[in-house]
């Protein structure tokens, strides 16, 4: 137990960089203003998200009260949180269990595989509270205060909130361990990342599909059924993930019945956790070791092939190619960077499959030539939003990690280096814009001219947002990481950049709204919008180059 606690303490320290932070702020006394800025961003960005989410939950709670089922808010929150943790959990577990550099240090230690696994699991669990607490606490508080719940509710609730991430994480961990042990894809661990990611993506899409499919035409009957059966709505939502019903019933049912559900939820979590440790002792190290056989083809390139491989290009072009190759050969980067862009068209097509009437009506409006400008602007907004809240630019320098010494060494000026990075980010943004534009074009019968306007203004807005994202990353890159995932998922710059992108989009949205309200000619609106974005892009590029010139020199590795 002592060694377990000691390992847990060390692992938490490394994972959250506690010693590194202490060293930076108390010993080196560097960048002391940074925690203040981060706290501000968390409060403003995270706070407003939680506020919006709480308002949504309040709506769900009040709607539930009308139907006589206020506890729906709990089911909703528990299910959303647990599904989210299940999907992200697959990534986190795979990365921490199988792709982390510290495994080479941990395996030779005199510890049981279950101890190492337990420590890694606990570490992920603790980071998951960052999702679970803001997602669950508002629902828990809204229901508790709204129904005037007694003290037992609050005690049980707190325990459930704290234990709720265990179940989905354990399921994710068992799935990953068995997959790594029995599916023999030794040559490329990357394949596993792709499988895990796709699974998560399809799970998310599946839930969305089912959620859309639920009312299916005869809504009246559906609602009637829901009201008639007391907990019908809850069950129909919770059926997707039964433990969220148990958690709800554990909290909302009176007396012993509630307590039984509460115990069922906690009990299942504990039993599955024990099963995970048992499986860990048997399969964890085996799976890890079998994935470690790095195979070299050893196929010699003939002199001729070598010569063909030699093509001279300029430094910026060479750097651009490096960015492109390193990005696309690291699945975790591709999945994170492009997921938003790829998912949007899916979500757009999904309602068509389910064929709801309201949607057909909305589409009819959108196709009406009278509303063509509004449709174009709204589509532009969607496209720009979906493509600009990616993490490609805002983790661009961080992704270099310990290889950043090469960028510092090569005789290429910082401005040319960031230029190559921008070319890479913007080319991906353009790909994303086109991916989203194509279904919109067919769905809404847009003219080619409007499509072009959308892609051009969308690209300009992306250039602006990418400038800002890259500026943040050049300013404070996260160069120390053990696993590529940390560079992108545990990178605060990504969060900061998304907040900034959302603010920029919001501001541009307001400008567009005002322009539209002024009843200006359509072309003039596009023109003014384009000019504003170009002006801001030039300014931000100027800022980025200034930051790069300074930071590339100052950053030490």
């Amino acid at each position: 137990m002592k060694s377990f606690m000691s390992l847990l303490k060390t692992n938490l320290n490394v994972h959250f960089g506690i010693s590194a932070l202490k060293y930076r702020y108390f010993k080196e006394k560097k960048r002391l203003w940074e925690p203040v800025l981060i706290a501000f961003a968390v409060i403003v960005g995270g706070g407003s998200l939680v506020l919006l989410y709480s308002l949504l939950l309040l709506g769900v709670f009040m709607g539930g009260q009308v139907l006589g089922q206020p506890e729906i808010v709990l089911t909703f929150a528990f299910m959303a949180t647990q599904l989210l943790i299940l999907v992200f959990g697959i990534f986190y577990i795979m990365s921490a269990f199988y792709f982390s550099n510290d495994m080479t240090i941990l395996i030779p230690l005199p510890l049981k595989p279950s101890e190492v696994l337990g420590v890694k699991f606990m570490t992920i669990l603790i980071s998951e509270y960052l999702i679970a607490l803001p997602a669950l606490l508002p629902a828990f508080i809204i229901y508790g205060t709204g129904t005037g719940a007694n003290i037992f509710y609050w005690i049980k609730g707190l325990i459930l909130v704290l234990t709720s991430p265990i179940l989905p994480l354990v399921i994710a961990a068992i799935f990953v361990i068995l997959l790594m042990r029995f599916v023999n894809i030794r040559k490329s661990k990357d394949v596993m990342v792709v499988i895990g990611s796709l699974l998560g993506l399809f799970l998310g899409l599946g839930v969305n599909f089912l959620a859309q499919k639920m009312p299916e035409g005869n809504e009246e009957e559906f609602i009637k059924n829901l009201i008639e059966s007391n907990t019908g709505l809850i069950e129909s939502i919770g059926n997707k993930f039964p433990p969220s019903i148990w958690a709800t019933l554990g909290l909302s049912s009176p007396g012993w019945q509630g307590f039984a559900y509460f115990l069922l939820f906690i009990g299942l979590s504990l039993v599955l956790f024990a099963a995970l440790l048992w499986l860990g002792n048997r399969f964890f190290y085996q799976g890890y070791i079998s994935g470690q056989d790095v195979q070299r083809k050893g196929k010699s390139l003939s002199r001729k092939a070598l010569r063909n491989a030699n093509k001279v290009s300029g430094p910026v072009q060479a750097l651009f190619r490096r960015e492109w190759k390193l990005f696309f050969r690291t699945p975790i980067y591709v999945m994170n960077g492009l997921a938003g862009m790829i998912m949007v068209p899916f979500f757009m097509v999904m309602p068509l499959v389910t064929q709801s009437e309201e949607l057909t009506e909305v589409l009819n409006y959108a196709r009406d030539p009278e509303y063509a400008m509004i449709t174009t602007l709204i589509c532009l907004g969607i496209m720009t939003f979906a493509t600009s809240i990616n993490t490609i630019a805002s983790t661009s320098l961080s992704r270099e990690g310990q290889t950043f010494w090469i960028s510092k060494m090569i005789p290429v000026s910082p401005r040319n280096q960031v230029l190559a990075k921008l070319l890479h980010c913007n080319s991906l943004s353009l790909v994303g814009l086109i991916i989203i534009a194509i279904p919109l074009y067919f769905l809404l019968d847009l003219s080619l001219y409007r499509l072009l306007i959308m892609v051009i203004i969308g690209l300009l807005a992306n250039i602006l947002v990418n400038n800002l994202g890259l500026m943040i990353d050049v300013f404070r890159p996260k160069l120390e990481w053990n696993d590529p995932q940390e560079a992108i998922k545990q990178n605060f710059n990504a969060f900061l950049a998304i907040v900034l992108a959302m603010l920029a989009m919001f501001a541009l949205g307001i400008v567009t709204f005002i322009l539209a309200m002024l009843d200006l000619p359509e072309l003039l609106i596009y023109g003014v919008l384009t000019l504003i974005i170009i002006l801001l892009s030039v300014l931000s590029l100027w800022g980025l180059v200034a930051v790069a010139d300074r930071k590339y020199r100052e950053l030490e590795i």
Binding site: K29, R296, N310, V312, R329
Partner: protein
């Protein structure tokens, strides 16, 4: 070729002096060995020379170019190999080499000639088609060396270059270093292998606690006592 004047670099807001007022000059045609115990300031000095660290004070001139005023021009004249070969794992060897050749603007003919020569020397030709991820530590070291020398820089700055190399590669590298300097160029390298330094270097500098405590040819360091080995001299000088 290399001119370092009053170089100082400290960490923790000046509390730890890693390099303290270091001045040294390395001439053209010279192999300069840089020795010192662990934590003496060797890597800090080297990283400051190549621009990975920003010195607190002092100046560094490489091939007559001020490294802080004209960093890009200075870098064109050096080939640097770090002590730990962290390199792009997800590029193949040949992609990495071409990338380095591109950013150093090496012409197609020159890169073909040097790549052939270096890949043969390090016995890497069979591996350059593979991802660097699959290389051993020594192979990574060799690919970094190859990439650093492709543009035929006048100054080589190598931080413990022999670590991880097999005996044959290590021997060939030493010969290559000699040949390079015989053509009027300069090699500055750090090492813990005193026998190598003794046999290979034209001059040696010993650093301890951030200060250069001795510098000169082997004869100068021996102070006339021909029987004295570099090991004895080193141990005597670095004893606290």
């Amino acid at each position: 070729m290399i001119d370092i004047k009053n170089l100082s670099k400290s960490y923790n807001k000046g509390q730890t002096k890693a390099v303290d007022d270091l001045t040294l000059h390395v001439k053209a045609g010279e192999i300069f060995g840089f020795l010192g115990p662990n934590g003496a300031g060797k890597t800090t000095t080297i990283k400051s020379m190549v621009g990975l660290l920003t010195p607190d004070s002092g100046s560094i001139s490489l091939a007559g170019i001020d490294a802080s005023k004209n960093p890009v021009e200075a870098k064109e004249n050096i080939g640097y190999v770090p002590d730990n070969p962290d390199v792009y794992d997800r590029l193949t060897g040949i992609e990495y080499l071409n990338f380095m050749a591109d950013v150093y603007k090496v012409s197609i003919d020159d890169r073909k000639e040097r790549m052939d020569y270096l890949l043969d020397m390090f016995n890497l030709a069979d591996a350059v088609g593979d991802l660097i991820k699959s290389y051993s530590h020594g192979m990574k070291q060799k690919i970094v060396l190859t990439g650093a020398l492709l543009h035929n820089p006048a100054i080589w700055i190598l931080d413990e270059p022999m670590v991880g190399l097999d005996p044959k590669s290590s021997h060939l590298l030493k010969e290559f270093m000699r040949k390079h300097c015989d053509q009027g160029n300069t090699v500055f390298f750090s090492t813990h292998v005193l026998e190598v330094a003794e046999r290979l270097c034209d001059r040696i500098g010993i650093i301890n606690n951030g200060k250069l405590i001795a510098m000169g040819t082997m004869d100068e360091l021996r102070h006339g006592d021909q029987a004295d080995s570099l090991e004895n001299i080193f141990l005597e000088l670095t004893e606290i």
